[in-house]
Symmetry: C2
Subunit: 341 residues, 2 copies
């Protein structure tokens, strides 16, 4: 590294009010420092945009600290080691870890995991083999506890998490119904991902669509959406049903609190359990080996499909993120920053 290395990064220019716009982001060029002892310099190949990032753009304390104005954004990446000062990492190794929204990142090697490019595509480590995949696996199996023959409904089913939830539920012998925001996505769920039924929630009230697609009720509802979907699902839950509260993308851009489900007290008469979770919690980490074995195996055996929407170029990352919140993706939304060498 004789030559000084320059790299671009996306900074948070201002906090979005409601829906984010291009003006909330800024492309900045900086000089990349050399790695210190124990650190690696990573060239980012793919970066992730995820719905949870919207929450971090607000100045609110939550389970992850807020992004800072004037500082680079962050998130998951798959990259390639350019320079290593850490034992066990070699130039050319593929890794996944933090440091998204920029072209290069220097960080302690222990924040990274080496990834095997032979299991799926490299970007799969941001999707089915990454955080969204683990979210679907842990949320559905450990919290939703679906049994063969039960009906599983998943909202945001054409997204990175929802698509895998549905596919795993099918593998477990469930009847699977999904909602999505366009006719093409509904077709994708039915024809590509093997859902038993699916509907476009923009076509009419969710409660009516559930009446039609889950006439005998829902055993497990995997909620990525909140709002109307949650209320309508509570209304169709069977006794002893489980609701996995994973996200509420319908409300992430909200500027005022939305009314909660008016029928929540049905949870008493129907003995429902509603459970929120954060997949990065320590308590879920013991499931990582099972997750990689199962989902990795299903991928190799083509029992699970890896679906992604790829946007090219760091400068397009804000657009990709804004599009994600509008549902412009099918499957995992990733931004391709560079090609492996």
């Amino acid at each position: 590294m004789a030559k000084e290395l320059k790299g671009r990064a996306i900074h948070l220019k201002s906090r979005p009010q409601g829906e984010p716009t291009a003006a909330n982001f800024e492309l900045v060029e900086t000089t990349i420092p050399e790695p210190a002892e124990g650190q690696i310099l990573v060239c980012n190949l793919f970066m992730s945009v995820d719905p949870y990032m919207r929450g971090r753009m607000n100045d609110v304390k939550s389970y992850v600290p807020p992004f800072q104005v004037g500082q680079p954004l962050d998130g998951g990446v798959v990259g390639q080691v350019v320079h290593s000062k850490a034992l066990g990492f070699e130039e050319g190794d593929f890794v996944s870890g933090p440091g998204g929204w920029r072209e290069y990142h220097v960080a302690p090697a222990n924040q990274y995991m080496k990834v095997d490019p032979g299991v799926g595509s490299l970007s799969a480590y941001l999707g089915v083999l990454g955080m969204p995949g683990m979210t679907a696996y842990v949320g559905l199996l450990d919290l939703g506890k679906p049994q063969a023959g039960e009906t599983v409904f998943v909202s945001g089913a054409a997204g990175a998490v929802g698509g895998l939830v549905g596919q795993i539920a099918k593998l477990k012998g469930c009847r699977v119904v999904g909602s999505a925001g366009s006719a093409e996505k509904v077709k994708h769920l039915r024809e590509e991902l093997g859902f038993d039924d699916a509907f476009n929630y923009k076509d009419g009230p969710v409660a009516q669509a559930l009446e039609r697609t889950c006439p005998e009720g829902i055993d497990v509802y995997f909620d990525n959406v909140g709002g109307e979907h949650l209320e309508a699902s509570i209304g169709k839950m069977k006794n002893y049903g489980r609701i996995v509260l994973c996200g509420a993308i319908s409300q992430y851009n909200a500027t005022a609190p939305a009314p909660g489900p008016r029928n929540l007290m049905l949870a008493v008469a129907r003995r429902l359990t509603l459970q929120g979770f954060i997949v990065s919690d320590e308590r879920h980490q013991e499931r990582r080996p099972d997750f990689l074995r199962d989902v990795g195996g299903w991928l190799r055996e083509k029992k699970v499909k890896e679906v992604e929407t790829v946007v090219e170029g760091l400068d397009k990352a804000p657009e990709a993120f804004i599009g994600l919140l509008r549902g412009h993706n099918t499957g995992k939304m990733v931004v391709k920053l560079a090609s492996p060498v």
Copy 2:
């Protein structure tokens, strides 16, 4: 039984719209039949009025069938056997079972349980040793899973269920806070039942009262009330908190659905579990021996107090029930119908 036996009963005259009134009830005298083989004739000594009965007065399918207009109401009683045609039951035995809202009831003996008048008072089998007691025991211990040192908040704490929830939580080493609807009840919780803190929810917003009484947050919220209490509690729950959904007395007289908690999606960031239950479910019955052993033991050792509000006379039962929904009781509300012979 040479002489024809007459007995009075309260019938549902009409379904209440909103708050029930005296006009919804009718006192009727009927002839009591002799018991057939396997049946017993019971003279009711105490009958129970319970919040769940309000739901059964609506013409809505739920976990128990609705009461029928023109028919007697029903509910738990403690009574004494007048005439037995069933093995194992003798004249003079004390029993608990169904057939409330009337002076006498004839029914199959297998619907009844013999009760021991030596453990607590006879009416305790409608309260701490009966359905409300079992509700508190199972809901708090099996669903709320309180750990020593944790903060437990219970709403409707001066009621039959809430009062026992708080006392059991204290026995388990928790810090216990309760809400109730009058200054006297708050005093009762603090001075009689040993709550660490309590507040009158009519004095101001529940969220402010929780800020003051649970400054470090809530680990277990036992919800008897719903509405504002539930939303405010969600706002003060700690990470991994458990919310036991037992009832929603604030909404039982509602004529339109009330808005749900606007902050339910905090359940994701805080990893909350909300769980509804019905104590009469088969799955909870295996806990009955533990419940009777533990709560019976605590009663005998005076570690738990039996608190009740007694109204005298069958004709006063509607008034007792209407008063219950308005919070006129402290502890279990019972109606005394007769004295043991």
